[in-house]
Amino acid sequence: MALAVCGTLLGLALYAGGLCTVSGATFLYHDYCVIGAGPAGLQAAYFLQQAGRDYIVFERSHAPGSFFALYPRHRKLISINKQYTGKSNSEFNLRHDWNSLLSHDRRLLFRHYSRDFFPNADTMVRYLEDFASLLKLRVQYNTAIIHVTLEKNEQAWNGHYFLLTDQDRKTYKCSSLLVAAGTWVPNVVNFPGSEYVEGYETVSINPDDFVGQTILILGRGNSAFETAENILGVTNFIHMVSRSRVRLSWATHYVGDLRAINNGLLDTYQLKSLDGLLEGDLEDLAIVKDKKGKLHITLRFYLENRNISAGIDSITLPQDELDNFATRAPYDRVIRCLGWKFDFSIYNRSLRMMPGKGNIKKYPQIKPSYESRSTQGLFVLGTASHSVDFRKSAGGFIHGFRYTTRAVHRLLENRHHGVPWPSTVHPITQLTNSIIKRVNEASGLYQMFSVLADIILLRENATAFEYLEEYPIGVLAELEMQTGRKAGSGLFVIIMEYGKNFSGADKDVFYYNRAVGEAQHAWQSNFLHPVIYYYKRLPTEHEMRLHPPDWPLPRPDAIHHIVEDFLTDWTAPNAHILPLRRFLENCLSTDLRNFFAESCFLFAFTHQKLPPSCQQGYMRMQGLLGSQELLHHAVQAGLLQDYSHTDFSDDRPSESHDGSQEQLMRDHGIPVHPLQHLVNTKDEL
């Protein structure tokens, strides 16, 4: 009852951002509350600040990036910090800078903070501190949100407010909640004897503590391998056990899989240098300690059938029945490196923050728009939002979620502030150029491949188009509602993709002829390359659900692949731009070639309609006159007729001119006389 009163009061006092006091409790109100001042929280704060929004960031620690203050334990980040790319294009360079957040401040590029290719985690902490302070982001430190609940209110943006309670029982009220809390709760597996297991969070990182020991590591992620790498040289041997097989990031193109920098143990395993990998479900495991303190591996199954009070000797070990059981040797230590999961505990049941299913159960369930499946107005950002593209793209990592965070911000701007998704409008003649520019420099498309897409909305009659950057393709069907832009006359979706059957465990990614060089076989490209989907109308949600497996989008009306490029430089006039232009021309049913002013002049006198390039250039006094050299080249190429040497006193009808110029222009590729080119054949004999 008291809450309801407060609600109505709030309705009045809302935009003053003031206080609401009911029965002694003080609500601090903000439009946006962000939980967590890690990379994602700060990134969200930056965009909110830039847009002039009322927001606050809550951080439980005294400084930003508390996760990085602890982890990784061995302090080496595995996100690359590439200093040199040979290019000055700042957007392009972000493709190879995996640590910087997005901002307008050029000082806040990670390369100014570290010269290491794999920087130290302390540098990240320092960087995040600078990011928050230089940009004057509003972060409230030492505030641990311990409970989140909803308060129904019809006037609220989403029909409810979010009420957040911190460790001091202070309550905050927000219209929109951005959860950027990361995944920080260690994954723990419970099995008989799990009390003997040390966690990654606390295990010693001093190799001296492992001298001459035999180690079993549970888990097979980067933290497990990082731990193994650290003690590889001093242990007797290290065994690693996990349910799944090892997934190498260079084989899967997924940066969350095992990175080459950590895989020293694979080397010693495959070279039979005592270390090894094992597959098995940790749930079936059991550990027993013998009198000497050695740890023995057995199976839960054996323990269930025995008398609990009996000593170690009565326990059946697998090697009793199978004398070559792999892990029959006793271990000195067992270390758990099983990663982290999202902290679901602080959310009230009414928010229905549910874990995902299967391999994404460590993440909360969210829609492709990063909004919670069950609570409107709650968005999950950063690592915790990785369920959208887990094991596919980079949404769980700084170099990915910095873009998805921006996308969420743009969605919110449109939804709550009537600011439509930013877009630029260009004449249709710039269509090919706009795409080429973006696929060559855009970092968001590149990092968040198959997740974020550039959208080109065609205007009526296809004389102009509107360009939207980095829209989440999962919510393509809702584009008009989410962006405030109209998609009535067809659209292009530009994304980057790897070959469908190229990457993945079990695949040899170094097979011969793995790269396609020919534009006409571009659809078989295996490495990351731009793909353009054309839809005559926006796909419906139903169609979105029916998309072919492994496809990010439903069947388009036409599709184009720009052939993969070794240098990821898609500016070759014939291999990249020409096929793209033909694709666009055929989708729009027009002629997108450029013409020199002289050609436009001729067309103006001989055609009632003009090609777009003449219409939008020449006819508006922006014709391309061209230098003598260029015109000469065009004449030599047979693409421009040279009339300056015409002898017009000659009245004889000339055979080669009986077609119109237009015909010549169109059919230039087919020689006028098919036999005339035999000139060289004689040499063959």
Binding site: L578, L625, Y643
Partner: protein, 838 residues
């Protein structure tokens, strides 16, 4: 057919007859039986005879004698008499006396013994004739045993005469006889070479030859000019007979390519007479040289199988498809000539070798074309954008860009503050139009070298995207002029050297330029002020305002901002403005217009006060009454959206024409059309226009009415009438009344995609069955177990496809392609190529 054959056989017989210079023509006597004395005394010098000596009774020689008897007649044809000498019993002379001599035959020329043959070498007529001629033609027919011998002879003959090389499995055979008989006739023309060595056969023929059958090669050594060059060779495809050899040699002697200039139906060559087809290569003047080479190429391929003729279409009025390039005439009488469209010389050869295939080829070809259309989409990988292609062809040339400062994110703002005026070209280094403009920009830099206070610079947006978006550059190329303390001006004129230079120069002076004295104003109208622009001829505009017309003045100033760089505008609003306006009989606010150097000044009252109207009005005023249309000024006149009355002239138009046209143009103040003229020398593309209208250039000058915006009809002023105002006006009246027939109508065609795109969707479908379009209402179909493996299979299949294609391409020899344009070949070569370096 049979009549023809008879014909050529008889001609052969006649030929043999004459060439053999038979001594006793007509007296085809059988072998004579003479006594030795009688025989020897009767031997005439130069006459050849084959004699054998027999005792009165010699039963053992009986079969031999029969053969001798039957060969006598044949040998007679070669002027060799066969004589049987009866040895009397008592005779013990050289030939009759010895027992073994009786088993031999003796060949005499005159009374000199040339050769004696054992009778077992003369086992039948063939062997007798062969051996006798072989002996007789010792010089004409060289017998060789090694390849070296053959090469020696070949080398000696180069440039002199041709060679006939024959292999026979053994001497005395029918083939040997045929070769010898041919040598008897042709021995003086060609060098004959004979061998029985199988090794030589193997060395001279391509594939595994059959050593038991004879083989004949014609060596074309006569035309060989280079000693190192081997002689071309033509093998006789048929079994060796006198007839086939004769035919072969006759064909080898015929000209390689016959040039004909008459109806192919009436043509007859030796090939047709010999029962072989004749192939015509249809040529035209423009392609004559290439066609001649084609014909020669084909002729070499077909040597001995068909004749090749080069038919000049320009000289013969052929009633066949323009596309046809080959015709085939068969020896069968009454068969019509076939006209064909072939793409490849191989097809010509197949055509001859298997006439039945002709039809099929034509059909296949059509299918193939369609196939190719689908598969390769013909030339879609060939650049057809003239600007992109021109720029890529220009790639290697280094532009003189030293004069143009390169700006970056770091130095952009500092550089702008250094010069009074900075011109910045924003471009993208990968974009063709940008680069084309950069090309002109470098010429502008050379032009403006020394222009003080102007800094030319460029920003590559591919390097500095942040800078470009910050400067609001949304498309390439963009040129902006930055002036200290003022808003930048974006260039919106033609991308040409002159236009850009003039813009930069004009924007140097304020627009409008404020003039403070009447003298200045007058000097301005004469084009003397400002001095920076005195060398440039622009129409000068002067706004004259009295002090109380501030609203109009503001609008004028605003219009000046918009038109800055395009128009030379001045402004006078001093107290004595009235004096100025009175001189030109206008009342302020007014506009004074001095076209080209102030020779005449027009005054226009300023009635509109909105900026847009003012701009519009100024633009309109700047248009000429009777302009010369050029590539760069056409759009200005097109904006009037009126029909064009345009005079196409080979050079400058005459005074008379100008006068009449001007009268016409000025005649009515609000013209319903644009009267203009075009100088074909200055604007050669005008030829293209005339050709489109009339298919040929009509006699010049030609006056046309072109409805550019409505209907697109083109009318031609009758050339027999002289171009006078009166004539034109009455013609225009007739036009309006619909009494004239348009000469041409502008194409209404839409600008469709020039070529199709790669249909990746269709290519992907076989490997991604899920991609097939689903009917809208069906719910998500259940996944079939194992569907994934099926998909995997499909994928590998489709992945192999390109490699198969590429091998097929490799085998097809390039260069034989009749459409073998260089880019196409290159495109074919690289098909399916993948690089493995990624």
């Amino acid at each position: 057919m049979s009549a023809q054959k008879d014909g050529w056989i008889s001609s052969l017989a006649f030929l043999l007859f004459c060439a053999s210079s038979i001594p006793k023509c007509g007296s085809a006597s059988l072998q004579q039986e003479l006594s030795p004395q009688h025989y020897f005394s009767g031997l005439e010098a130069g006459k050849t005879s084959l004699a054998f000596f027999t005792p009165s009774v010699s039963p053992g020689a009986q079969p031999f004698l029969e053969q001798i008897e039957s060969s006598a007649e044949v040998l007679q044809d070669y002027g060799i008499s066969v004589v049987k000498v009866n040895c009397p019993k008592e005779d013990v002379s050289r030939y009759c006396g010895k027992e073994n001599a009786l088993r031999k035959a003796f060949l005499f020329r005159g009374n000199r013994l040339i050769r004696e043959f054992p009778t077992d070498a003369l086992f039948d007529v063939n062997s007798i004739v062969a051996n006798v001629l072989f002996a007789l033609l010792f010089n004409e027919v060289k017998y060789i045993e090694t390849l070296a011998d053959l090469e020696n002879i070949e080398n000696v003959l180069k440039g002199k005469s041709n060679m006939v090389f024959a292999y026979v499995p053994a001497t005395g055979t029918a083939e040997h006889r045929a070769v010898m008989e041919a040598a008897f006739v042709y021995g003086t023309i060609h060098q004959f070479v004979l061998t029985t060595e199988a090794a030589l056969l193997k060395a001279t023929s391509h594939d595994d030859p059959d050593v038991s059958s004879a083989w004949l090669l014609f060596y074309h050594c006569q035309q060989v000019t280079e000693p190192a060059q081997p002689c071309r060779r033509t093998a006789l495809a048929q079994p060796l007979t006198l007839l086939s050899i004769h035919r072969h040699l006759k064909l080898m002697g015929a000209p390689l390519v016959t040039e004909v200039a008459e109806d192919p139906e009436k043509i007859s060559t030796v090939h047709l007479q010999l029962g072989l087809p004749l192939v015509f290569i249809l040529s035209q003047k423009e392609t004559y040289e290439a066609d001649r080479r084609t014909a020669e190429f084909v002729a070499w391929q077909l040597l001995g199988k068909a004749g090749v003729a080069l038919l000049s279409r320009d000289l013969v009025d052929l009633n066949v498809l323009h596309r046809s390039n080959v015709a085939l005439k068969t020896p069968e009488e009454g068969m019509p000539i076939q006209y064909l469209v072939l793409e490849d010389t191989d097809e010509v050869i197949t055509l001859v070798e298997d006439k039945n295939k002709v039809k099929q080829i034509q059909e296949d070809e059509q299918e193939e074309e369609e196939d190719e259309d689908e598969k390769e989409n013909n030339n879609q990988d060939i650049q057809d954008d003239q600007v992109v292609e021109a720029v890529s062809r220009d790639k290697k040339r280094e532009l003189p860009l030293e004069q143009i400062l390169v700006l970056t994110e770091e130095n952009f703002h500092s550089s702008l503050s250094e010069a009074a005026r900075t011109v910045v070209l924003f471009y993208a280094s990968w974009e063709a139009v940008s680069l084309a403009v950069l090309c002109s920009y470098s010429e502008v830099a050379a032009h403006l070298k020394g222009a003080l206070g102007v800094l030319l610079s460029r920003v590559n947006c591919w390097d500095w995207p942040g800078l470009c978006s910050q400067e609001n550059v949304t498309q390439f190329p963009t040129i902006k002029i930055y002036k200290e303390g003022q808003q930048s001006v974006t260039y919106d004129g033609m991308w040409g050297t002159e236009e850009l230079s003039s813009f930069i120069l004009l924007s140097q002076v304020p627009c409008p330029l404020k003039l403070t004295t009447v003298d200045e104003a007058e000097g301005y109208l004469r084009g003397e002020i400002p001095s920076e622009l005195s060398s440039h001829h622009h129409t000068s505009l002067l706004g004259v305002f009295s002090t109380d017309t501030s609203k109009a003045r503001e609008a004028f100033e605003e219009a000046g901002n918009i038109l800055s760089g395009h128009v030379r505008m001045g402004m006078y609003f001093e107290d004595d403005a009235l004096a100025l306006s009175r001189k030109y009989s206008v009342s302020p606010p007014a506009l004074l217009l001095a076209r080209s150097g102030g020779r005449s000044v027009e005054g226009i009252a300023l009635s509109q006060h909105s900026v847009q109207d003012m701009v519009q009005m100024i633009r309109y005023q700047l248009l000429d009454i009777f302009p010369e249309i050029t590539v760069s000024n056409l759009p200005r006149y097109l904006q009037l959206r009126k029909p064009f009355l345009i005079l196409f002239s080979a050079g400058n138009i005459s005074q008379m024409e100008r006068k009449e046209m001007l009268k016409l143009a000025k005649g009515r103040p609000q013209q319903a059309f644009v009267a203009c003229w075009l100088n074909l020398k200055k604007t050669p593309v005008g030829h293209g226009i005339l050709r489109t209208y009339f298919s040929t250039t009509p006699s010049l000058p030609v006056l046309l009415w072109v409805n550019l915006h409505a209907g697109g009809q083109v009318f031609k002023f009758p050339s027999e009438q002289s171009i006078t105002e009166m004539n034109i006006l009455s013609w225009l009246e007739k036009l309006q009344a619909g009494l004239e027939i348009p000469s041409s109508t502008l194409s209404e065609e839409d600008w469709k995609p020039p070529l199709p795109a790669y249909d990746f969707l269709q290519m992907m479908e076989p490997s991604v069955p899920e991609l097939s379009p689903k009917s809208g209402n069906t719910p998500d179909p259940p996944r079939i177990p194992g569907g994934d493996t099926a998909r995997g299979g499909g994928d590998t299949a489709s992945r192999e496809e390109p490699s198969q294609e590429s091998t097929a391409e490799e085998f097809g020899s390039p260069g034989r392609d009749l459409r073998g344009t260089a880019p196409r070949l290159a495109a074919r070569d690289k098909q399916g190529k993948r690089h493995s370096e990624l």
